[in-house]
């Protein structure tokens, strides 16, 4: 454990210093290969190899290739043919595209409406529990531990549309239903979102909880001196402290939900009648969903457009967070 103490004690200072430190050891001198090797130039390369190879083959090259392929027609057998903007045109005129965009945004919106307040309220309440916070948080986190595919398959059974389905049986006790859940164009998407929230909210709860607990006690003390009640402390002390974490999870959630695949793929396959067709499902279908071979050009063209959109979101996020660290 002593090794762990070291970075903590000195980390702040060295970290700051390290960034501006003039290089002494690692700088290669190109003119003299021997010196370069002795000074560790070679070992730098050796150590960088795993990263360079893995990123090169499985990240950088596919990214470049993705852009290239979006301007090509490929069927894996012949040589690829340049087709200009044809793939983009094909995707943009696909009658399913507006549906997929609408559905994806709808999913993101529902995921926010359901998935944003629930963990927040839960975390705030847990943070005020005096004993057994651990029990509460473990309970909240438990669904996250269930493998996502298992969770979807289990909920698919819960959502059985017959009167004997699990949810329909429960709702029958209070005189509701039966609903057809996943077989209903209007209920299918909310059903997906409820499961997705169940599966993911625990993680968000723990993140909020960690942030709430790190709110300095002095801030509450100060508020109390001003005569603040419990509600006002939550609203005017805790919430502003959570602002950063909230905004970040908010943006990350949007970025994540825009790429939703597992739920629509396993629950409904995009149905009924395209009610849960998402953009990622469209990409998958272009690439892998036709029995006569993938339309890789259309798949990459749509991917590239989605990526551009998400990159803009990420940049906004990056700007926002770096803005904070300066303030």
């Amino acid at each position: 454990m002593s090794a762990l103490g070291a970075p903590r004690g000195t980390g702040d200072a060295t970290g700051a210093r390290g960034n501006h430190r003039p290089a002494t050891s690692g700088r290669p001198r190109r003119r003299d290969p021997m010196t370069w090797v002795q000074r560790g130039g070679l070992s730098s390369i050796v150590f960088a190899l795993p990263l360079l190879v893995i990123f090169g083959v499985f990240s950088w090259w596919p990214i470049v290739r993705s852009v290239v392929m979006s301007f090509q027609k490929t069927n894996l057998v012949g040589t690829p043919k340049w087709v200009g903007w044809h793939n983009f045109q094909y995707v943009l005129t696909d009658p399913d595209l507006p549906t997929a965009i609408r559905n994806t945004l709808y999913f993101a919106l529902l995921a926010l409406v359901i998935g944003f307040p629930v963990p927040l309220v839960t975390a705030v309440l847990i943070s005020s529990v005096r004993k057994r916070k651990g029990l509460y948080s473990a309970l909240a986190y438990l669904p996250v531990v269930v493998p996502p595919v298992v969770a979807v398959l289990l909920w698919k059974f819960f959502y059985d549309g017959s009167a004997d389905g699990v949810f329909n049986t429960i709702l029958d006790w209070v005189g509701l239903g039966p609903y057809t859940w996943l077989s209903s164009p209007s209920l299918a998407m909310p059903s997906l979102v409820v499961e997705a929230t169940w599966a993911a909210a625990g993680g968000t709860v723990i993140i909020y909880l960690a942030a709430l607990i790190s709110v300095p006690d002095e801030l509450y003390d100060a508020a109390e001196v001003d005569g603040a009640g419990v509600w006002r402390k939550v609203w005017h002390v805790a919430m502003p402290q959570l602002r950063g974490v909230l905004l970040i999870t908010f943006i990350l959630q949007i970025i994540g939900t825009v790429q939703v695949f597992l739920e629509p793929y396993l629950f409904t396959g995009g149905g009924p009648a395209n009610a849960t067709l998402t953009i990622l499902l469209m990409i998958y279908n272009y690439g892998f969903g036709s029995s006569l071979g993938g339309n890789y050009g259309a798949a990459t063209a749509l991917s590239v457009m989605l990526a551009a959109f998400l990159a803009i979101l990420s940049l906004v996020y990056f700007k926002l967070t770096s803005g904070w660290s300066k303030s």
Partner: protein, 464 residues
């Protein structure tokens, strides 16, 4: 591969002549005489041949029967080792398997896909190998043309499940609903009445329809044909025809007026089979030969099974027909192709043309309690098929007397091929309409079909 085609052809013809007589006479002889020339298998090489086997989840008895077949085949061809792989053709996974090179060397495809796969050079030219088979020239020409390339060569070989669509019904549910299981419905109106009775009396779905992964469009095409409509006219999509509208309206009435279609509206091919075998469905339409997989995979109770003709109405009405072809990966070596054609002969075709093979195959199936005699349409001539049925008569263990309303009429019906261009895309476009009608009370049929038609036309244009 290409430059040697002419030579291989020449040799193949010679080989076929040499082989023809032996094959016809005694099937177990061909391993000794058939291995000469470059398109035949070199007897000194060991070939491992990967082939498709049963559906995933097939019962142990079915697996036993297949294993017996493989053992027998290997005895006949000592230098070939056959490995079987579970396989279900699905529109949504096939392309990735093909592109990924993870399909077995011999695989099965629906009639409708062969032309495109040939054009994309994804399946092997089997002409030279096929001609080695005695019966190569006896194929039903209408079936064979599906697997021929623009060069006239045969790439994919008609192999099994040559079907006309039938109406499958659960006799037990019919009885429980007070209907006569020996007098199944003959018009769509009667189907509707029966479905309503079943739903009311038994609580199960009276009638169910596939709707997922292209099967919805496939079955809607079936319904359309039965009412005299067509989905394509040359290169023009004609999805907005009156027969299709009537078919959707029929589903809408059953679903929303009668509520006789149960609670599951996202069946695919295997899903609806499972539900039917479990007694949850009164009637559904699917290929006439589906009984085989209902036994092999779903443990259906034979007593409850009934098969009848799909109702036909209108002048141009017909029964949709289709089938399964065997194809060989274009990456297969010549030895593999030579071995493949032997397996295709042994596993799929020989039994129809050779009495000994027919009986032997039937014996193997019966020994493992597998269905023998499920009605199919002839791959060769109708006489040939009738002769085959005579050969296996004593082995037949499927309830043929519960299928007579189908088997007595199917040969008189007009068979209509599936839409020729961009078939799976047309089906997928129609899926949406079927799903919408089954799940949305306010679905607008005209609008749905107009949208589907636009998508289908787009796919047809892209394919052409």
């Amino acid at each position: 591969m290409k430059f040697s085609r002419r030579t291989t052809m020449a040799i193949a013809v010679v080989g076929a002549l040499a082989l023809g007589s032996t094959l016809g006479a005694c099937s177990s002889d061909d391993s000794s005489s058939g291995d000469s020339g470059s398109t035949t298998l070199d007897p000194n090489t060991k070939v491992t041949l990967n082939v498709v086997g049963l559906l995933p989840g097939a019962k142990p008895e079915a697996q036993q029967a297949l294993a017996d077949e493989v053992a027998d085949f290997q005895k006949e061809n000592p230098n070939i080792t056959v490995k079987t792989h579970d396989y279900e053709w699905k529109a949504t996974t096939f392309a990735a398997d093909l592109a990924g090179g993870t399909l077995p060397s011999v695989f099965e495809i629906p009639f409708t896909d062969a032309k495109t796969l040939i054009a994309n050079a994804q399946i092997a030219d089997m002409q030279a190998y096929l001609t080695q088979l005695a019966y190569a020239s006896n194929f039903n020409k209408n079936l064979l043309q599906y697997g021929q390339g623009s060069d006239g060569h045969v790439y994919a070989i008609p192999a099994k499940s040559i079907y006309a669509i039938g109406l499958h019904y659960n006799r037990d549910l019919f009885t429980q609903a007070g209907l006569d299981p020996n007098k199944p419905p003959t018009t769509w109106e009667e189907v509707r009445t029966a479905a309503k009775a079943i739903a009311e009396k038994t609580g199960q779905a009276g009638f169910a329809q596939m709707s997922k992964d292209g099967t919805g469009g496939w079955q809607l095409t079936v319904d359309t044909y039965s009412r005299g409509g067509r989905m394509e006219d040359g290169k023009k999509a004609t999805l907005t025809n009156d027969a299709t509208k009537a078919s959707l309206q029929f589903l809408k009435d059953l679903r929303w007026t009668d509520n006789s279609m149960g609670a599951n509206f996202s069946y695919d091919w295997s899903g609806i089979n499972q539900a039917f075998a479990a007694g949850k469905i009164g009637m559904y339409t699917s290929g006439q030969d589906v009984y085989t997989s209902l036994v092999q995979t779903n443990n259906i109770n034979p007593k409850s099974y009934g098969l009848t003709m799909i109702p036909l109405s209108g002048g141009e009405s017909g029964v949709l027909g289709g089938g399964t072809m065997a194809a060989v990966s274009s990456k297969a070596s010549n030895n593999e192709k030579a071995a493949a054609v032997k397996w295709i002969d042994y596993h799929y075709l020989r039994k129809y043309t050779n009495e000994g093979a027919a009986k032997k195959n039937a014996e193997i199936q019966v020994a493992s309690k597998q269905p023998v005699g499920t009605p199919e349409l002839p791959i060769f001539t109708q006489q040939q098929y009738q002769q085959y049925q005579d050969w296996i008569k004593t082995y037949v263990n499927v309830p043929l007397d519960q299928m007579t309303t189908f088997t007595s009429k199917v040969f008189d019906a007009k068979l209509v091929n599936e839409p020729a261009i961009a078939t799976q895309d047309v089906y997928k476009a129609l899926d949406t309409a079927v799903q919408a009608v089954l799940t949305d009370k306010n679905a607008n049929i005209d609008q749905l079909l107009t949208e589907a038609n636009a998508k289908a036309q787009r796919a047809i244009d892209a394919a052409g």
